[in-house]
């Protein structure tokens, strides 16, 4: 039952970001569940070759040519020999690609299908359909996803987007959200409780925290890269009005980007330097320390697939004010958030409402941490991902995995279990478009020929099998052991 999984993406540590930590957390939790996980990414500066991270997570930093923002140059086939070598020596069953902009991931999925492996793809971002760049991206995504066994999206909005972009069967797309490591994001005055307590019980023994008085300063935290699509323009327009209408309010802004200059100009024009603190960019591990300095987290983003940062903020016990865009409305319950339209006026109103709510002590922000901890955990994400793996490998029967919805209107007997026969694959690719379909088919045929050539030139027998990391016993087994011992 334990699988050998290869996570493939252009984005991994030492670069930091949402996708990177997602891959890392998911991999380590899967390892905890007894699987073997390796990560294949391209070489970063000063980081080439094979490395191990905590828990025996093995990283292959394949030396490759990087073009833009740590994305490799899309050379459809040049990655194949080394990828095949890695896959064979690690005895991989499932290739799991991440991020649609990563050319590494797309190529790996193509090669993995040629080699007869099951593939999963996780989409982390939203794309529109309007401009030329996204048309190209969507074609590439279609190429990647035409033959994938299952796709995972981080929110329902993201799922709709991916289904539309790649013309996928909706039942082949699962929604598995991101999660946070709640321990890394606890409020300032937090002491963990013992497990036997029910999280929310009317007789909460904890003393309620010191209430916020009407004249206490309320600090609003903004942590975001200062880009247009993060809504920095909204922020710039809203800050002076929020500060003007709400006395005893301060801002802490962390992050850097091209819009930082505009923000600073606004501060100077309105002479707000004493009320707005700009921290510049902060490292991910410092985010919590910045967050706990505030009471409200303001997130003015214009597009967001999931918005991990607002979950982190809520976990730190901050009340969240965010725009109602993308997948954000799905992420947090109503009592933790105030939603605003992406309009200056509405953002000001929503923030003022949030400040008023905090001042009247209606919001129990001290409970947020425990609640978020119950909602999102990487262990849960890993379990759900594992179910996807079981489904595509066939350990769960297709009818159970894809479900049967007789009253839902569409048939379930579609071609969901993707066969590896070349002709079937070509059929799938051919439907991608008038010209693109033929081009894709050509790519697949060439890929197959390269595969045959590689099998002859570098026979499998000559490739050493890598030894896997000495495994701990899976957690549940440990638990049964301890129970047995205690008996």
């Amino acid at each position: 039952m334990p699988y050998n999984i290869a996570m493939v993406s252009d984005f991994f540590f030492p670069q930091s970001g949402g996708i990177e930590s997602h891959i890392y957390q998911l991999s380590s939790k899967l390892i905890d569940r007894g699987h073997k996980v390796i990560i294949i990414t391209h070489a970063y500066k000063g980081r080439t070759g094979v490395r191990y991270l905590t828990n025996g997570l093995k990283i292959y930093h394949v030396p490759f040519f990087v073009i833009y923002r740590e994305t490799t140059f899309p050379t459809v086939f040049s990655f194949f020999p080394i990828f095949r070598n890695i896959v064979i020596r690690e005895q991989i069953d499932i290739v799991h690609g991440h991020a649609s902009l990563s050319s590494f991931c797309g190529e790996a999925i193509l090669h993995a299908r040629t080699m007869g492996l099951r593939t999963v793809f996780t989409d982390h971002s939203l794309f529109g359909f309007a401009d030329a760049a996204s048309i190209l991206t969507n074609k590439l995504l279609k190429f990647t996803l035409s033959d994938v066994d299952h796709a995972i999206c981080v929110s329902h909005t993201c799922k709709e987007n991916t289904v539309l972009r790649a013309s996928l069967d909706p039942l082949m797309v699962s929604v598995i959200p991101n999660a946070v490591v709640a321990e890394n994001f606890c409020p300032l005055s937090y002491y963990p409780r013992t497990h036997d307590q029910i999280p929310i019980s009317p007789a909460d023994p904890r003393p309620s925290p010191t209430p916020i008085g009407p004249n206490d300063t309320i600090t609003i935290v903004v942590i975001s890269r200062l880009f247009y699509n993060k809504g920095t323009d909204l922020l710039i327009a809203a800050i002076p009005r929020i500060l003007a209408s709400n006395p005893n309010t301060r801002f802490i802004i962390a992050g850097s980007g091209p819009k930082a200059i505009d923000l600073e100009q606004m501060l100077e024009r309105n002479v707000l330097q004493d009320k707005v603190e700009m921290l510049g960019s902060v490292r991910h591990e410092e985010v919590r320390d910045v967050m706990v300095r505030g009471h409200i987290y303001l997130h003015p983003s214009l597009t967001e697939a999931f918005g991990t940062v607002i979950v982190e903020a809520a976990s730190c016990g901050l009340y969240v004010v965010c725009t109602r865009v993308g997948g954000i409305p799905e992420v947090l319950p109503q009592h933790m958030t105030t939603f605003a339209k992406p309009e200056e006026d509405d953002l000001v109103v929503a923030t003022s409402k949030a400040i008023a709510a905090l001042r009247s002590n209606k919001v129990r922000t001290d409970r947020f941490h425990d609640q978020v901890k119950m909602m999102y955990s990487w262990r849960d994400v890993a379990e759900r991902t594992e179910r996807v793996y079981q489904g595509i490998i066939g350990d769960i029967s297709p009818s159970e995995f894809y479900g049967s919805y007789p009253d839902q209107g569409w048939d379930v007997s579609g071609d969901r279990v993707r066969s590896f026969a070349l002709i079937d694959r070509l059929k799938r690719y051919y439907g991608c478009g008038v010209w693109a379909g033929k081009l894709f088919c050509l790519c697949v045929v060439i890929d197959f020929l390269i595969f045959v050539f590689l099998e002859m030139w570098f026979p499998r027998a000559n490739i050493d099998i890598a030894r896997s990391w000495p495994k701990k016993q899976p957690l549940d087994k440990l638990r049964t052991h301890s129970i047995r011992n205690s008996k």
Binding site: T157, E344, Y402, G409
Partner: protein, 502 residues
Amino acid sequence: MTPPPSSLSQIPPPIPVDTHPNRSPNSRTPDERVPDPDRLAPEDAYFAPSLSRGRSALTNYDDTLRSLNGDASLHPPRGVLGADPNRKDVRKLGAGAGRRRRKGAWKKLLWVKQSYPDNYTDTETFLDHLQRNPRVRPYDFWPLVSDSTVIVQHVCSVVIFVCCFVDIVQDRVSPVSVVCWGSVGTAVGWILWDNWIWKEQTELSNANGNIGGDDGSSSSSVTSGVNPPANDTQGNGIKGSPIHGLGLTMAANSSKEHLPHQSPDHNNSVSGVIDPTARAGLNPAPSSAVAGDMDVQDIDRPSLFSSRNRQRLSTVKSAFLIYFSLLGLSPILKSLTKSTASDSIWAMSCWLIIMNIFSFDYGSGEGAGATKFPASLSTNAAVMASTVLASRLPSTTHVFSLMLFSMEVFGLFPIFRRQLRQKSWTGHVCLTLALVVIAGGAVGMTMSGGWASAIIGSFLGGILTALAMGGCSWWLISLQKYKNVVIGPWDPARPIIRRHWN
């Protein structure tokens, strides 16, 4: 897994702008009317199935939302397109009873642990915020044809210019007669223009006097009514001062396009103030040209009539200036590209004229300035083309005439055409017809000479133009059914910001 190609054709042609009310770009759920799906107790996160089963409001939510959405917006996932009507029936029957019976209703939330598998796809809420072609305006045939007259006019004037050049080169037409006819036409056009401006300014001053005491509510309509005259005075200013070359003309032109953008701002910020000078003061001053024009207006306003004469005088003055400077420059222009081979000259002028046609600002100057290229690009290309062509002419007089004629055709004639189109539609149509006939005749004349061929040419030109206009319009309309703009919550929202702090 791709949609069968035939499913495309089953998608109905563009849906007019009847999108559902709850997704103007931002608002996903109208909180006032529908029970919010997010309004769950936090306990739902851990005890989801047991607790939410009792909440009937929640299960109704989807239905309510659906009724709000209207069916046009909901498109089923691919592969089911053909079965759409059946599916709807199934849904209506099964939605209320069947689903609730089975498990707790599925919610489009991530923080609730639900008893549905991760790849569960809810037929009701899936893609319900999808909009297809929300902002598409279906075209009608006749408006399209009438709009295409603008292009026809410009192409015809270019054709006339080229024919004149060819005839001059081939010695069929005397250059002096060409430039004389052109100048006469320009003078007539200017007189007409001046007349319109005068009328409008008197109207404006009357309106000023009438509405002065009005309240703020009507200000918006008034401002928009006032805008064109403001533009025209600007245009007049241009006409009055072409000494600085055509670059200035263009700057003023583009500033013309700026003005309408700002008018909503004035409606909000300045209530009841109609004095254009006040507006000019509030402007963030897109270019110095605007400010300068406004200043002129400011000075002019008290004595309208004398200023009119002054403007006329300055126009005449600058016309003479440009005349003489061209006269002085023409020997230089004649020898400027003399050393270049004729082949290069023909190729270059062809490209330049094509550039002129494609980058010409066909907009009416009202509304959003939709042209990507600055209008100056078009005019500069045309002037450069004529400069380049001028070197192939035998004498200085020829060069002078051609340059003057090209300025009249490419610099001044478009301004007149635009104004005419705004003033009188009949005039516009007549001008179009005249241009088409003249252009056709000129082509016929150039091809074989003689009046008979000119008549045949104009006849053929007219027919061909009519066919092209109709055919292109029909083609554009028939292409509309391929239009498939998909908009949904994944698109980056457009932030609405008013720059108070500016």
